[in-house]
């Protein structure tokens, strides 16, 4: 069924269809309509779940940890400053290997006070140990609720899953969304059945104390587990593609074979960039685009394969590493390409706090790229910044 839905409400609908047991969220700003709608659904009896409105985001995820630890399918969402307050618990959820699903409506961090979209919040939890994907549309956000739960709860995985969804551009825009029948969801997503649960009948310890002689082994096991989630995620994408016809990959490339300049994007800005690439191609300009969907575990091999033979890579970064070498996506991409005869990487920091980036801007960036790449050591650009 194809309907017009606000991005946030598309997520709420998916969470309802995924038949979650517990939703815990801080209900006020910087929250989105995702939990507003979920609260309505629970109140009106459309969804049989516990909705727990808490006093802070720190508590929201703490409640999710407790709920997930007893075996409940658990959901939360937040945004920018809310994630900052939640940060301590974000790391605990993944270290305890609890398959919680979170939608992060990406927003900039203060100061200056800003409510608009960029990836500074996402990058703050880059190393939190969650599986992390960026979605490009309301449809992708809807689909990834099911894909996320299935992957997170897979007994080979058991890790929390974070869906990065651009605030406002995706959460507040109305888009056509193809909803799936409940029978499809039921077929795709089995009821939660976690191997380790807090249960008085069969006691066990979670979140134990360790000394320095044991901590490193736990972290190594966690790192390996996150890397090993790649295979089950690919399987979950494949199975979803077979059921719905919507196929997802860690990275998707267009016109890469003969492109001089390739844009690499994460999130919804990839859609305008793609439009720009189509227009520039019609004008005979050899450009291409690679959209990175999977952020953690980082798909090193896929990226190397996709970008082999590309001359210049223009990374569209939507966050800054102040005092570092540019933006976080370019940092990762350069590491992936290190030692291989790959493209020269130019990092464009654009769209900070939701500033528009038009197709014309992509034309300018494509023209600038070879020039900047040939320049000195400072190969990142705050594109469009006023002097």
């Amino acid at each position: 069924m194809r309907v017009a839905l606000e991005g946030s409400h598309a997520v709420s609908e998916a969470v309802r269809q995924a038949n979650v047991d517990v939703i815990a969220a801080y209900p006020i700003t910087p929250q989105t309509h995702i939990v507003e709608r979920l609260a309505e659904m629970v109140a009106e009896g459309e969804l049989d779940a516990e909705f727990i409105p808490v006093e802070s985001e720190h508590s929201a995820l703490s409640v999710c940890i407790g709920a997930s630890a007893v075996g409940a399918r658990t959901f939360t969402c937040t945004s920018g400053p809310g994630l900052a307050l939640m940060a301590e618990i974000v790391f605990i959820a993944s270290s305890m290997r609890l398959p919680i699903l979170m939608v992060l409506a990406n927003r900039s961090l203060s100061a200056p006070l800003s409510i608009w979209n960029d990836h500074s919040d996402a990058m703050m939890v880059r190393d939190s140990g969650w599986i992390q994907v960026f979605v490009n549309s309301a449809q992708e956000a809807y689909d990834h609720v099911f894909i996320g739960f299935r992957t997170a709860e897979d007994k080979r995985v058991l890790l929390p899953f974070m869906i990065h969804m651009d605030g406002f551009f995706l959460t507040h825009a109305v888009e056509p969304v193809e909803l799936v029948e409940q029978s499809v969801v039921d077929k795709y997503l089995p009821p939660p059945d976690f191997p380790y649960r807090l249960d008085p009948a069969s006691p066990l310890t979670m979140g134990a104390f360790v000394m320095p002689d044991q901590y490193a082994e736990v972290k190594k096991a966690q790192d390996e587990a996150l890397k090993a989630s790649y295979g089950p995620l690919l399987e979950a994408w494949k199975a979803w593609g077979e059921l719905t016809g919507r196929h997802y990959l860690p990275i998707e490339g267009f016109y890469l074979e003969d492109a001089e300049v390739v844009f690499l994007t994460v999130g919804s800005y990839g859609e305008v960039a793609h439009m720009a690439v189509e227009e520039l191609r019609q004008k005979g300009m050899p450009v291409g685009i690679a959209k990175l969907r999977l952020w953690r575990p980082f798909p090193f091999e896929d990226l190397r394969k996709a970008l082999k033979g590309v001359k210049y890579l223009a990374v569209i970064d939507r966050a800054v590493c102040p005092g570092g070498v540019g933006g976080p996506v370019a940092l990762e991409v350069r590491s992936a390409l290190y030692g291989m005869e790959g493209p020269k990487v130019v990092d464009f920091i654009v769209g900070i706090a939701g500033r528009d980036v038009t197709p014309e801007d992509y034309l300018k960036m494509a023209e600038m790229t070879p020039e900047v790449a040939g320049g000195g050591s400072e190969n990142y650009v705050f594109y469009g910044v006023k002097e």
Binding site: L158, L204, T205, M206, Q214, V218
Partner: protein, 91 residues
């Protein structure tokens, strides 16, 4: 028991109940409490004040620290009204 990373269960779940009993917190100690039985009047205040619950009454009614767990904080010595406990350096 210290585990290799391949043997660690997801989330470092521990299936053995009460495993913290084996954690030898006595290793943390730099000073140990030594009881002078001539001064001790068996009042049990050290037992009440010990934050780790490591003090037990023995068969003769004296209160003694279990050095496997005692972290050597010295609260028992500080609180003893008879000054019967002294903290002596380890090693």
């Amino acid at each position: 028991m210290i585990l290799g990373w391949k043997d660690i269960k997801p989330g470092f779940v521990i299936l053995e109940v009460g495993s913290s009993r084996s954690l030898k917190t006595g290793d943390w100690r730099t000073e140990r409490p030594v009881l002078d039985r001539d001064k001790c009047n068996k009042c049990g205040l050290c037992y009440l004040f010990c934050p780790e619950g490591t003090i037990r009454e023995d068969e003769e009614g004296y209160f003694v620290s279990d050095l496997y767990y005692c972290k050597g904080c010295g609260i028992c010595a500080h609180e003893c009204p008879q000054k019967a406990i002294t903290m002596e350096p380890e090693g």
